[in-house]
């Protein structure tokens, strides 16, 4: 009985357990639902899975199903980020508990009933509970935003190495706050449109509308919604890994206001898409600021990795080669920032190229080719975020030594092969004719399947290890129950006055 209680405590009350639960759920969903499309269809795997699980796949409902699936996975990712934020940003103990409990009930409800409605028959009880789950997540978002409120004396910055205002308010906390608030408003764009479903609004996939000159306000709101939500998920993970690296100093002082400003401009631009043709201009400007802030984080992090490793080795005057090797010493900490750099070749660069050459190249291609490029673009961004979360998890799970290196390099190399192959596949028409494309198509498809497959196998290995660990009386999970929070520096160290004032009620 005590073990069950401890396990419950681990999975539903400790940050590490909650993150593990989220990653496990996404992995299982990805593994099962990944068998419903692509080459799995050709190999007959889909039919087997559908029959085995008793799925109900009406062809006409495909768009709706995909939307449910996206929402389910996105909700879990957002929840994982919230668990990380409540652990690394100082807040009241009860606030953390309320936020985590609410969002956990929210994503589990959303997942179960969203997938049930989408794939196992249209029962409006399921759909209602899917909405209840999402509403709980939204409510948790309100609680989080309130908890992150930065203009409180308790959160004044004492250590001046961290970005702060003249009055001492914590700019990193403010960046988290702006991101959370923007996400709430952006969620509203989807929710308002959703409330018109079957009452003037019809299900659609955004990529099917790319060439329609006339889009309704509700369609524009949905297109804006999906873009900004993914962007804000990316902003959130950037802030989180910044804290992971204890981002501070001059670069931090430039990056935080830049990130905040960029987040506000992008969000405002996306929201304005319903009313103005100028939206893209705002989005481009905001993106420059956000990406610049991320660049500063990359520079800081790589510098820190080199510095820490060199200090660990006791080298007093390291040469370039030693520094270079030091950078790659820990792939788990090098990886997230490398992925941010690599993203420029597979996501940002492709996006900018498409925008610049839209009329000369991409609008000349058939819509199907343009659609492949667009969907590839944001699938890669989502997958990059997923790999960063995975590497973060491997670190907080305390995996060390050779296993850590193998896991880290496998994630980096496997995912980058897949992303590069997806980019080449989507851009193939630039350098190969339709008649000669078969080898390129075959090889890039193989590379994508190989890259993603190897990561799925790796994740399965980690999850099996954690599953076995649960049966061990002194397993890792028992230590994580006793040390439930992430072992990281939190955002700006508070003033002594603040610490004293909140000591009784707040865990920092």
């Amino acid at each position: 009985m005590k073990k069950i209680k401890d396990l419950f405590h681990f999975f539903f009350q400790s940050t590490k357990g909650l993150i593990l639960l989220g990653i496990t759920s996404i992995s299982v969903i990805t593994a099962v639902w990944g068998m419903l499309s692509g080459p799995m269809v050709e190999w007959g795997v889909r039919d087997f899975v559908v029959n085995l699980l008793g799925m109900d796949l009406e062809s006409v409902e495909r768009s709706g199903r995909i939307i449910m699936l996206y929402h389910v996975i996105a909700m879990i990712v957002v929840s994982i980020e919230v668990y990380m934020i409540t652990s690394i940003v100082p807040m009241r103990r009860h606030q953390r508990a309320n936020i985590n409990n609410t969002i956990t009930v929210g994503w589990i409800t959303t997942t179960i009933f969203g997938l049930a409605f989408g794939y196992f028959g249209h029962n409006y009880f399921y759909h209602g509970l899917f909405l209840v789950g999402q509403s709980l997540i939204f409510f948790a978002g309100i609680l989080l935003t309130a908890a992150l409120y930065p203009w409180r004396k308790h959160f004044l910055v004492e250590n001046k190495e961290y970005a702060h205002t003249k009055n001492g308010y914590d700019l990193e906390r403010m960046a988290f706050f702006v991101m959370a608030l923007s996400m709430l408003i952006s969620a509203g764009f989807g929710a308002v449109t959703g409330s018109f479903w079957s009452n003037g609004h019809e299900t659609f996939l955004a990529e099917d509308l790319i060439r329609n000159p006339d889009k309704t306000a509700l369609q524009k709101a949905v297109i804006g919604h999906l873009h900004i939500m993914l962007t804000l998920v990316a902003v959130a993970i950037t802030l989180i890994v910044g804290r992971w690296m204890d981002f501070k100093g001059k670069l931090h002082k430039v990056a935080m206001p830049t990130m905040m400003f960029g987040t506000l401009v992008i969000s405002g631009g996306v929201w304005s898409v319903v009313w103005t043709h100028m939206a893209h201009t705002f989005i481009y400007v905001g993106s420059v600021f956000v990406m610049f802030a991320a660049l500063l984080l990359v520079i800081y992090s790589w510098g820190k990795l080199i510095k820490d490793r060199i200090a660990e080795q006791g080298i007093e005057n390291p040469n370039f080669g030693q520094k270079f090797i030091a950078l790659f010493h820990d792939p788990i900490k090098f990886g997230p920032f490398w992925q941010m750099v690599f993203m420029n070749f597979t996501v940002s660069g492709v996006g900018i190229f498409m925008a610049v050459k839209l009329e000369q190249i991409f609008r000349v291609w058939p819509a199907r080719e343009e659609r492949i490029t667009l969907t590839g673009h944001w699938h890669i961004l989502s997958a990059i975020i997923a790999t960063i979360i995975l590497m973060y998890y491997i670190d907080i799970a305390g995996i060390k030594g050779k296993v850590r290196k193998w896991l880290g390099w496998t994630i980096i190399i496997g995912s980058d092969i897949a992303f590069a192959a997806a980019t080449i596949f989507s851009m193939k028409r630039l350098f190969v004719s339709e008649y000669h494309q078969t080898p390129i198509v075959n090889w890039t498809m193989l590379a994508m399947d190989f890259g993603l497959g190897i990561i799925l196998v790796l994740v399965a290995g980690v999850l099996i290890w954690r599953l076995v660990d649960l049966f061990s009386p002194d397993g890792l999970w028992t230590r994580e129950v006793n040390s439930p929070e992430l072992d990281l520096e939190r955002t700006a160290v508070l003033t002594q006055e603040g610490r004293d004032a909140i000591k009784k009620e707040m865990e920092i």
Binding site: S37, D208, P366, H436, T438
Partner: protein, 310 residues
């Protein structure tokens, strides 16, 4: 570095040569491409959300895509009459232009001469020898591909036909039903030519050749490969898969031309009756063809190919 480049180049050449086409063999399907089906006036369900639309006139539509044989005959006649001409290894013809509204991202298509087919494109299944076009051996009854919207429209205009509008196309594909596919709500691998179908032609004639003869999926057995009849309520073949088909509408403010039906490159969801693909009217592809529509009273005979099997 130089060695690496040579190795890479040779690998590419080898990879391409391994995918080279094998000689094509003519396969008789028993379906006559000169047959037209009557689509009666009336309401039907349009689009994914099944909005009720009405076409208040009867029309006829070809039961198959225009074949290479038919298009070759047309080209020879059109060249003789001077409605098209050849320049820079391309067949060209005149288009009176589309109305231009200077809308954001609108593509201006002024009056002028536009390309119909790229003669040297290896995906084209026609040969041009001694001033005459003819279908490549074995491809006579495969759908005409690598033809631009201008080229498709020119064919229709030449015989007094037209390209079907999107609404006409969808009604012809779906009939009065709410089906997702022309024949029902599911598609079998041996019922249409799409990416998962692995049909006889893919097995026999390498990866490059992926079209099937028009009307191939008609319930017949070909050397042990049993097909399921994949026809619409009005008796049309290949309205799902094989090659995309141009439709006739000019969409104001964009001027893309829309294509319907999916192709051998498509997953099954693109074979449903409502998904759209689009491209500029100059676009050509190995997976894109067309069929024609006409008013029922038009009785002008289409080009004959009764000796097609010869």
């Amino acid at each position: 570095m130089k060695t690496l480049k040579v190795v890479l180049f040779l690998s590419l050449v080898l990879a391409i040569s391994l995918h080279a086409e094998k000689p094509m063999q003519y396969v008789e399907t028993g379906v006559d491409p000169n047959t037209w089906a009557l689509v009666p006036a009336g309401e039907f369900y349009f689009g994914q959300h099944q909005h009720v639309k009405n076409i208040d006139y009867d029309y006829e539509i070809m039961i198959t895509d225009v074949t290479n044989f038919q298009y070759a005959l047309y080209l020879n006649e059109a060249l003789e009459k001077g409605t098209v001409y050849i320049e820079r290894d391309t067949v060209w013809g005149h288009h009176p232009g589309d109305p231009f509204d200077a809308y954001l991202h609108e593509w201006e298509i002024p009056a002028g001469d536009y390309p119909h087919i790229p003669i040297l494109n290896p995906g084209l299944r026609l040969e041009f020898k001694a001033g005459e076009f003819s279908p490549k051996s074995g491809y006579e009854n495969h759908p005409m591909v690598e033809v631009s919207w201008f080229g498709a429209k020119a064919y229709a205009d030449f015989y007094g036909y037209r390209l079907p509008t999107e609404m006409e196309w969808e009604k012809a594909a779906r009939g009065a039903s709410t089906n997702d596919y022309p024949w029902g709500n599911t598609v079998q691998r041996n019922q249409a030519n799409f990416i998962s179908s692995h049909n006889l032609f893919e097995k026999m004639f390498s990866d490059v050749v992926k079209t099937t003869p028009v009307g191939f999926f008609n319930g017949k057995s070909y050397d042990g490969y049993q097909t399921i009849e994949g026809i619409t309520p009005y008796g049309l073949y290949d309205m799902a898969g094989n090659v995309y088909q141009w439709t006739g509408d000019d969409h104001p403010r964009v001027h893309y031309r829309y294509m319907r039906g999916g192709s051998y490159q498509s997953y099954e969801y693109s074979l449903r009756v409502w998904p759209r693909n689009s491209a500029g009217p100059e676009y050509t592809s190995m997976s894109l063809g067309f069929r024609c529509a006409r008013a029922p009273e038009t009785t002008e005979p289409a080009p004959t190919n009764s000796d097609i099997s010869k």
